[in-house]
């Protein structure tokens, strides 16, 4: 009888009444969730809804105030990373957990490296890692490559494979496609691991992915379970409503008539920079949002970082003319945590750092004026004022991005550069960022935006340039801007082939 019960509970994960308070805020209130063996369970919620806290409870980093977790009928000792690992939990972290100075093979084998006479056996390490890469259809990755030499997408793949290959009873994937240009590889592997009887928790902001891969799902809001669903039960709109707690009509702000845009602000001619960017010409007019589309590594990063002055162009010219704005460019960079934020500092410091000249007299900073300015900018980007005095590392991803965005527009650039501005940002904040971007353009600024999400570019931009192999393959004007056409051009199809 007992044996039978155990058999039927294989890899069945039950999360019961988990509660956790941090000071005055309840991060989780009586959250329950259950995942069947072999099923993929979607976990949705805005940033700050409690998803990460719940995942940290599962992985043993955070000790909950109440509640229990059982995996395959066995109770999990909460608050011990070792116990979580032993019970078969594997996690692919959104922030990617590979130290930069180790090899792919080392990451794939941590924490149990194969040894010979007490020393790590490189041969065996490479062999094991090679087998794992092969098993999970990722033979294009070199096991001997250093993590720091990999692209973000490759690092994401390594993170996922490391989790997959630990034969997990419960696999948690936190925003696994944030840096993956094509999720189909991941979905194939998820099906394979689910077929082995593992329970999979899939956390994502991308609703189309949730719809495609998840059998069941849970929506969290403000630390509470607000909805559970099975595949096909809720539409995308209904899911978003559950997540943000209110309905919305339009995801993207209305675009102006093409005649409403003004004269050329940004004029790039034959720009080449870095290894990839190889002669790009484009223009952005005042009031216009121009999108750049491209698969990973087509030169988009070189383009944006060369314009921002981070990379020296090897050829070409860039000119910026405009009536509004104080400086030529400001950039919202790719990696929020490492490139944009001072994680140890408060939000208001992060928000106003480049603006010190506006609240100082004779090199003496006025705290009162700094406070006023940071409140002003926070107001512009709908950042709650209570966040200003908090350490930025403690803010949700969405609020962090508001700080980065607010800092960029507060510098009043003639041309605003947004590099994947909604990565790892919750749905509600995404909508706000779209609206703020449009409002900023409407004031007469030029905006150039790159995004990994084609629907976002199509919905937000007036025009989209598709980059392929360091050049602009096709430019899509407003009247021929569809997801399909942009997708084809970034894959390298010429317009005439599309027909």
């Amino acid at each position: 009888m007992l044996d039978q019960k155990r058999e039927s509970d294989m890899a069945h994960v039950e999360i019961d009444d988990i509660s956790k308070r941090f000071g005055a805020t309840a991060a989780l209130s009586n959250v329950s969730m259950s995942v069947e063996a072999g099923a993929v369970h979607g976990l949705l919620g805005e940033n700050g809804a409690g998803k990460s806290t719940l995942m940290k409870v599962l992985s043993g980093i955070v000790v909950p105030d109440a509640g229990r977790v059982t995996v395959a009928g066995r109770p999990l000792q909460l608050g011990s990373p070792q116990a979580s690992r032993d019970i078969g939990l594997a996690m692919a972290y959104q922030e990617l957990s590979a130290p930069p100075n180790i090899t792919v093979a080392t990451k794939l084998c941590l924490p149990n490296l194969p040894t010979r006479f007490g020393m790590v056996s490189q041969r065996e390490l490479t062999a094991i890692a090679g087998a794992r890469l092969k098993e999970w259809d990722a033979e294009h990755l070199d096991p001997r490559a250093l993590i720091s030499d990999l692209s973000l997408a490759a690092r994401q793949e390594v993170e996922i494979i490391a989790a997959l290959s630990s034969s997990p009873a419960l696999l948690v994937l936190d925003e696994p496609t944030a840096a993956l240009p094509d999720p189909s590889w991941l979905f194939r592997q998820i099906h394979r691991i689910a077929d082995t009887g593992a329970a999979v928790v899939y956390i994502s902001h991308k609703l189309n992915e949730i719809k495609e891969i998840c059998d069941t799902g849970t929506v969290l809001r403000n630390g509470r379970t607000v909805a559970t669903f099975v595949r096909g039960e809720l539409s995308e709109d209904e899911l978003v409503e559950q997540m943000i707690g209110r309905s919305f009509n339009h995801v993207f702000p209305a675009k102006p008539e093409p005649t409403a845009v003004g004269k050329v602000v940004l004029d790039v001619r034959d720009l080449a920079a870095g290894d990839k960017l190889d002669g790009v010409s484009l223009q952005v007019r005042s009031g216009e949002i121009v999108g750049v589309a491209g698969l990973e590594g087509q030169g988009q990063r070189d383009l944006f970082y060369a314009l921002a002055g981070e990379l020296r162009p090897s050829a070409g010219s860039v000119s910026v003319t405009g009536d509004v704005g104080r400086i030529d460019f400001s950039l919202v960079p790719e990696e929020r945590k490492s490139e944009a934020l001072f994680l140890q500092m408060r939000s208001d410091f992060n928000l106003t750092l480049p603006l010190t000249s506006r609240f100082s007299t004779a090199s003496v900073v006025s705290r009162r004026r700094a406070r006023r300015l940071s409140e002003e900018v926070a107001g512009e980007v709908n950042l709650p004022l209570t966040m200003l005095s908090r350490r930025i590392a403690d803010l949700s991803g969405g609020n962090q991005q508001k700080v980065v965005f607010g800092r960029a527009i507060a510098q009043a650039p003639r041309c605003l550069l947004l590099f994947d501005p909604t990565r790892g940002v919750d749905a509600a904040t995404k909508l706000e960022i779209y609206k703020m971007t449009r409002d900023f353009a409407a004031k007469g600024h030029a905006v150039l935006v790159y995004s990994t999400e084609i629907p976002e570019l199509v919905g937000l931009c007036d025009r989209v340039c598709a980059l392929y192999d360091g050049r602009i393959a096709t430019e899509h004007a407003a009247d021929e801007l569809t997801e399909n056409s942009v997708m084809r051009s970034i894959l390298g199809h010429r317009a005439e082939v599309v027909g």
């Binding site: 990373p81 996690m91 100075n101 180790i102 990451k107």
Partner: protein, 338 residues
């Protein structure tokens, strides 16, 4: 992989640092041999290796900690304490000299363990913790031996400083240490130490037991400082409560010349040992070149800066060829220190 590649990649093991540090050392020591004929004999060579050994041993310890991203200032205090303990007890119990040596090393290990526990378990900053233990240990050393003095049996001093046949014992000590370092750095614990120094959080999330590894590094470092103190005692054959003080700066200088990354996660203790050799060779070279004594300090600083510039120049050279998208923009810290 081209040579330039191997010189610009920052990875576990620190082979590129060892290569560069070896080149710097060979140039410096070669120059010493070239300009001073009286250095070109086995006696002088033995003296040279003996002289660099305490610094080299101590620098291995500070490197061990620095690779995990921590700064260990207790090196100075531990050396002083180990020196005065040896100098006050060994002459009194000549039969138990080696037992005393073992006890002294155990004291060093204990000091390191305390450092590690305070840094890891109590979550204190390594710089503050080890500054504290440095001051405490110096105080204890003054209680043990208030003024320079004491002695050690001649047999003890000669056993460690005289050559064994044609080979200096000091050289054997250093080679053994280099071998031990190689084994450590290629062990799972060593790989974990590098990973922790580069990104502690990522290492923890990868399942590495970061606390254990860090505490082990501090502990081993403490033992190495004590060993350095014992070797120093064999050279000076006496005790001085302030004998360790000069090691504080020279250890960090040796690591700088050995290109151990001060942000953690990179470098090699072998390179730091070679850096120690360079630091010993430099004053000899400057003396032989007729540089006045008070200039030599400044010139040593210049050499450290030059050494630091070498990898920078190599990287610059290589950057022209490498894919820029792989490069992080300048100024972004690659690791964290505690």
């Amino acid at each position: 992989m081209t040579l330039v590649d191997s010189l610009t990649r920052r990875s576990v093991g620190g082979n590129r640092e060892s290569l560069i540090a070896a080149a710097i050392f060979v140039v410096c020591y070669g120059a010493v041999l070239f300009v001073t004929p009286f250095e070109r004999n086995s006696y002088a060579f033995n003296n040279f290796v003996v002289l660099m050994t305490p610094l080299a041993i101590a620098a291995v310890g500070t490197t061990l900690v620095l690779i995990t991203g921590g700064f260990d200032l207790s090196v100075a205090g531990t050396i002083s304490l180990s020196n005065v303990i040896a100098a006050t007890t060994m002459a009194e119990y000549p039969g138990a000299v080696w037992l005393i040596a073992v006890v002294v090393i155990a004291v060093g290990l204990l000091v390191g363990l305390v450092n590690g526990l305070l840094v890891v378990r109590a979550g204190l900053q390594s710089l503050a913790v080890t500054l504290g233990t440095f001051i405490i240990l110096t105080g204890i050393a003054l209680i043990v031996l208030p003024a320079p003095g004491g002695e050690v049996p001649e047999s003890y001093a000669l056993a460690l400083t005289d050559p064994l046949g044609p080979v200096p014992v000091a050289l054997l000590v250093l080679l053994a240490l280099a071998l031990a370092w190689w084994m450590f750095s290629t062990s799972p614990t060593g790989v974990a130490a590098y990973a922790i120094g580069a990104d502690r959080q990522a290492a923890r999330m990868s399942g590495v037991r970061t606390g254990r590894v860090e505490i082990l590094c501090y502990t081993l470092a403490g033992g190495l400082y004590a060993a350095a103190g014992l070797y120093l005692t064999a050279i000076t054959a006496s005790g001085d409560p302030n004998s360790g003080r000069s090691f504080l700066l020279t250890c960090f200088a040796a690591m700088a010349v050995g290109l151990v990354g001060f942000r953690g996660g990179s470098g090699s203790a072998v390179a730091a040992m070679l850096g120690a050799g360079t630091l010993i060779a430099l004053p000899k070279l400057l003396f032989a070149a007729g540089v006045e004594d008070f200039w030599s300090g400044a010139l040593q600083g210049v050499v450290i800066l030059l050494a630091l510039a070498i990898p920078f120049l190599v990287v610059r050279m290589a950057q022209a060829r490498r894919e820029p998208s792989r490069r992080r923009p300048a100024g972004i810290s690659e690791g964290r220190t505690r």
